[in-house]
Amino acid sequence: MGSVLRYTASRCALSQVWVPPWLVYLLIVAIAYPPNTPALGSLSLGAIVLLPISAWLCLATLNSESEQQSASMAALAGGVVTYRMLVLVSALCAALALVPFSILYALLHNAGPLPVGDVVAAVLPHGVSAAVGTTIGALVARPLIARVGFALVWSCLLVVALIAIPHLPPVRLMVELLESAHLHAGDVIVSGATTAATLVGAAIVWWASATFSRRRT
């Protein structure tokens, strides 16, 4: 497992396909986090922005490898489904690598201390955003959608829908919970359950998309 993650990270580092989405995210965080306001407000923005960024990272990771090369590595790594799942895990890791920056910047930039509970509460929506964004990328990448233009349109539509519809789980719901000033016990349970359900759902969609991609090739 680790060997495929290492290979994918090495390949993406050399071709620098992760650099643009990382830079855009860091720029947004640097510009848009309002100074001297509660950190949780900034972090909810960070979690929302991570959704399209992680979809971008995933799309870049999958589409930067040619179909032939991907097939060759998949045969070596134990099959198309296994290989694609591991590449998706690599893309998720690339998205999660941004979370510490978001939290650290909010901590430095905003007024007042940030309790550990709030940090944990902020990590969960970031993680959910990264997982959902990666799932969107998995659905719109080649060979499921061959043309980048269509992939862009579909990912934008999905991202906007997930952010704009009030109370829609998982991303919007998690962000709303984060924005509420004080988390109640019920909110914590909802937050934890939503995160767990998102991870399970994402894994199922990843597996389905990987299986379908094998059929398409």
């Binding site: 060997s3 495929v4 090495s10 040619s66 060759s72 590595m73 045969a75 070596l76 090739t217």
Partner: protein
């Protein structure tokens, strides 16, 4: 023992039929050559045997967990160094670092990768890139190796090295499936899968169909040596032929042994007067 079994395997993309239903069983330690024109469905079949593409109907059974697969167009990350790439391949193929390094050195030497394996993949010539692709396939010891046009861009001088790698893999019980265009390789293949009009036909023992006739000068002083000399050739049959005052020795052999037999005859001082493929005009 049968390793790979294809049962009524077919492939279509939308309405376009790429491969009609095919049944095939491949035994461990067997090499099979796939022949067909461009666009006949060879690569699709190879991908299904390698397990990276799913048949539209039918099943492919017995595919090992890890397969050595060289695609028709080998496109590794161009900015990565060849040795780094092969080390990644070794790790993914479950080789430890020391074994991987030794195998990389050995394969670089056998295949003649020039100027060195430390170059970036994007800077390598087409032939050397193909050699890296072959090294990638033969780095771990796979039970199934699928080579889609492995000689594309490969210099002739490197062909024997590839043949040796294939032969070694077959000897240790692996299945090797390769697509070839070279007439000699096709006719000398022990088993041929010919694809025409999206329909695959299995031809068993191709070599038995193509025998070669050697007409050699009578060398009476060496006549006693002939049987001993030919003992190591399994497919050889010998007959004497007399026409009037002319006397000749006619040797028949499978085409797979013709090069070795010719070398042996010449090396032992025999003169080959005529050489004819079965079915040729003379």
């Amino acid at each position: 023992m049968t390793l790979i079994t294809l049962h009524q395997v077919s492939k279509r993309y939308g309405d376009r039929i790429v491969l009609r239903p095919l049944d095939l069983a491949i035994r461990g330690g067997e090499s099979i050559v796939v022949q067909g024109a461009n666009g006949s469905g060879k690569s699709t079949l190879m991908r299904m045997i390698a397990g990276v593409s799913r048949p539209t109907s039918g099943t492919v059974d017995g595919i090992p967990e890890r397969v050595g697969y060289l695609p028709e167009r080998f496109r590794p990350p161009s900015l990565m160094r060849a040795d780094v790439y092969l080390r990644h391949v070794g790790r993914i193929g479950n080789l430890n670092a020391t074994t991987a390094r030794q195998r990389i050195d050995s394969l670089s030497h056998i295949l003649g990768i020039r100027p060195s394996v430390n170059e970036r993949l994007g800077r390598l010539s087409k032939g050397n890139l193909q050699k890296i692709g072959l090294a990638q396939v033969f780095l771990p010891e796979h039970r199934l190796i699928v080579l889609d046009e492995p000689r594309t861009g490969l210099e002739r001088a490197a062909w024997p090295a590839l043949d040796e790698l294939i032969s070694n893999a077959v000897q240790r019980g692996a299945v090797v499936v390769s697509s070839e265009h070279d007439a000699h390789l096709i006719e000398s293949a022990p088993r041929l899968l010919r694809i025409a009009a999206n329909e695959a036909t299995v031809i068993e023992q191709v070599t038995a169909l193509r025998r070669v006739e050697f007409v050699v000068l009578p060398a009476s002083e060496k006549a006693g040596e002939l049987d001993r000399m030919l003992a190591r050739f399994s497919s050889v049959t010998v007959e004497s032929r007399t026409a009037g005052r002319d006397h000749s020795v006619v040797i028949w052999a499978d085409s797979s042994e013709k090069d070795a037999l010719l070398l042996c005859l010449l090396a032992n001082g025999w003169t080959v007067n005529r050489l004819r493929m079965d079915g040729d005009r003379g």
